[in-house]
């Protein structure tokens, strides 16, 4: 099995598949809209990342939200990404959206993805307090890129790759 090609579409275009019609103003009323609840209730890649090389956990002690990001990074690319955690709909749905968005991306694309981009990806208008919930996974991701874990890629890549290994898992 060979690795999937690099994703080449501009980052954030995934959003357009789910986005509400432009005419509809994105107000707080849409905070619990179907699209966000879908990501919350049927999350993308929630769990442990097979062959993870990097990981970081962030929490928000004020509300108790926790998000852990695990990445399988190879050759300057995020080959696989998973999140786990506990918290409100905003923190968990935003994590689900972000992981889907960055899976299969080059690291330079991911580091260039700003907090403002994250809020835009989330879509619904958030008060400053809830923005912290939305940015929790983004903070965990940005730190995870620089946080290699003890079991390195060399070990994982020696021998046969496990099913759901470090390639071809972003879709």
């Amino acid at each position: 099995m060979t690795g999937v090609p690099f994703r080449t579409e501009p980052i954030l275009t995934v959003l357009s598949q789910h986005a509400l019609p432009v005419a509809m103003p994105l107000e707080e009323d849409e905070l619990y809209q179907e699209r966000i609840l879908d990501y919350y209730e049927e999350p993308y890649h929630r769990g442990a990342c097979p062959g993870a090389t990097h990981a970081h956990e962030e929490d928000n002690p004020l509300c108790g939200d926790v998000v852990r990001v695990e990445l399988a990074i190879d050759d300057g690319k995020i080959c696989d990404a998973y999140f786990s955690g506990d918290g409100c709909c905003i923190s968990q749905a935003s994590a689900s959206m972000l992981i889907e968005q960055i899976c299969g991306r080059r690291l330079d694309e991911v580091t260039a993805f700003t907090g403002a981009d994250m809020l835009r990806l989330f879509g619904a208008k958030l008060t400053p307090n809830r923005q912290k919930c939305c940015l929790l996974c983004w903070r965990a991701l940005q730190a995870a890129i620089y946080s290699p874990i003890a079991v390195g890629p060399v070990e994982t890549e020696s021998g046969e790759k496990p099913a759901g290994g470090s390639h071809d898992n972003c879709h």
Binding site: E34, L62, C63, G64, G87, C88, I90, R130
Partner: protein, 421 residues
């Protein structure tokens, strides 16, 4: 059933004294908006016109610094300030006004004891016994005191339904226990703790007791003399008063033996270049200009509470708590934190299956219902309960059964939003 038996207090008339309770929220073009249901009284209460007016009157007619000027306004201000102290003393059954210290809140009151009494009396190996249901304000000052003195902080466990395990009290109360610090009412569970029994048993073991009464004084009768409490702390803003004023009550012999907490004006008898001599009680612990107008406002708040009657307040809140338990049980998927209504104050904390506390609070706000969500400054308690956050509805005598029923209906709606399939 007549209105009189359903709500024995004339809640409608009472609410007319609280303009903020008539607020309509989220009104947009073409929509009527929703009426406010303020169910966050354990965080802070609202205040009636009478309290606000009392403070306006001071500023407009009587204001000057207290205990200082030899002039007419200062005398006026001092009289009103000391009158307020007298009202507080009578409200909590203090034997004298000198034992009632004005602080800036319950948190400062507890810190005062931890710093002053703690540093002077605790030594390495001594034990401070807290409970698992304490607010951070009754945990952290003792952890800090322990770090300074080498004393050890221990926690009396709670039961799964949020009550103290008094059968284990003697086991935790050792000859090294110098102080027991306990909430009279838990700010999360609402549990009414048997403070009288705790004090008697602690005294028998040679320990003093600090009572965190922030959630009890506003809602139930408090008699520090009958309780034989050594220290007792509470805040003005949780009982119709303004923020910025709190009370420390202490036994006279204990307070007189304690070194001053903060140094400054007012707290001294005389100062020389070589040192100072502290003042008598209560000035000894009131360095600097005190919260003059908030203290007078607190006095007015106590006057208002007295006209309603503290027993009637407690009865009304118990009724609301019972309704809340019925209504929330009917919603389904609700886990109550804390005991049955009979054992608690007007505080109902809960979790709702599959929905995080912050999402509940945000969605309730759309219906105009104000509740608290999070760990409510009680992280060790939430850890003990195996959760990170909860939602809390907390009542005061101006809340209605209708508001509590609205809470139930809103939670049903929230359940629908999160279980679409």
């Amino acid at each position: 059933m007549t209105t009189a038996t359903k709500d024995q207090l004339d809640v409608e008339r009472i609410r007319a004294d609280f303009p903020i309770l008539a607020t309509i929220l989220h009104a947009k073009a073409g929509t009527a908006g929703v009426p406010l249901a303020y169910l966050d009284n354990a965080a802070t209460t609202q205040r009636p016109r009478q309290v606000v007016q009392s403070m306006v009157d001071v500023y407009e007619k009587h204001y000057a610094n207290v205990h200082r000027g030899i002039h007419w306004l200062s005398d006026q201000s001092t009289d009103l300030f000391e009158e307020a102290r007298g009202k507080v003393a009578a409200f909590i059954g203090s034997a004298s006004t000198e034992q009632v210290i004005f602080t800036h809140g319950a948190t400062e009151s507890i810190n005062l004891v931890a710093r002053s009494w703690g540093d002077a009396n605790l030594k390495s190996g001594d034990e401070i016994l807290l409970t698992e249901m304490e607010h951070h304000a009754n945990i952290v000052p003792w952890q800090q005191a322990a770090a300074r003195t080498g004393a050890v902080v221990r926690f009396l466990p709670i039961t799964d339904d949020g009550r103290l395990t008094l059968d284990k009290f003697d086991e935790y109360l050792t000859p090294r226990t110098k102080l027991v610090a306990v909430a009279a009412v838990s700010n999360v569970l609402g549990t009414i703790n048997p403070v009288q029994e705790i004090i008697a048993r602690a005294h028998a073991a040679g320990a003093l007791v600090m009572v965190d009464a922030a959630q009890s004084v506003p809602h139930t009768k408090t008699d520090v003399t009958a309780l034989d409490a050594d220290f007792l702390a509470f805040s003005g803003h949780k009982m119709l008063g303004p923020t910025g004023v709190g009370i420390l009550y202490g036994k006279r012999e204990l307070l007189e033996a304690m070194p001053p907490f903060m140094g400054g004006g007012s707290m001294i008898r005389r100062v020389t270049t070589s040192g100072f001599e502290p003042a008598e009680l209560p000035a000894r612990f009131e360095a600097g200009t005190p919260p003059i107008v908030p203290a007078i406002g607190l006095g007015a708040a106590i006057g208002y509470l007295n006209t309603i009657g503290i027993d009637a307040i407690h009865e009304h809140e118990l009724r609301l708590t019972r309704v809340a338990h019925e209504v929330l049980t009917a919603v389904g998927g609700v886990r109550f934190l804390g005991p049955d209504p009979e054992h608690k104050s007007g505080i109902v904390s809960f979790t709702l299956e599959k929905v995080h506390a912050h999402d509940i609070a945000q969605l309730l706000d759309r219906q105009g219902i104000a509740v608290r969500a999070g760990h409510h400054c009680a992280m060790p308690l939430h850890k003990r309960l195996g959760i990170t956050a909860s939602s809390r509805a907390s009542f005061y005598f101006y809340n209605t059964t209708e508001e509590v029923e609205r809470l139930g209906r809103a939670l049903e709606e929230i359940k629908r939003i999160f279980r679409r399939k």
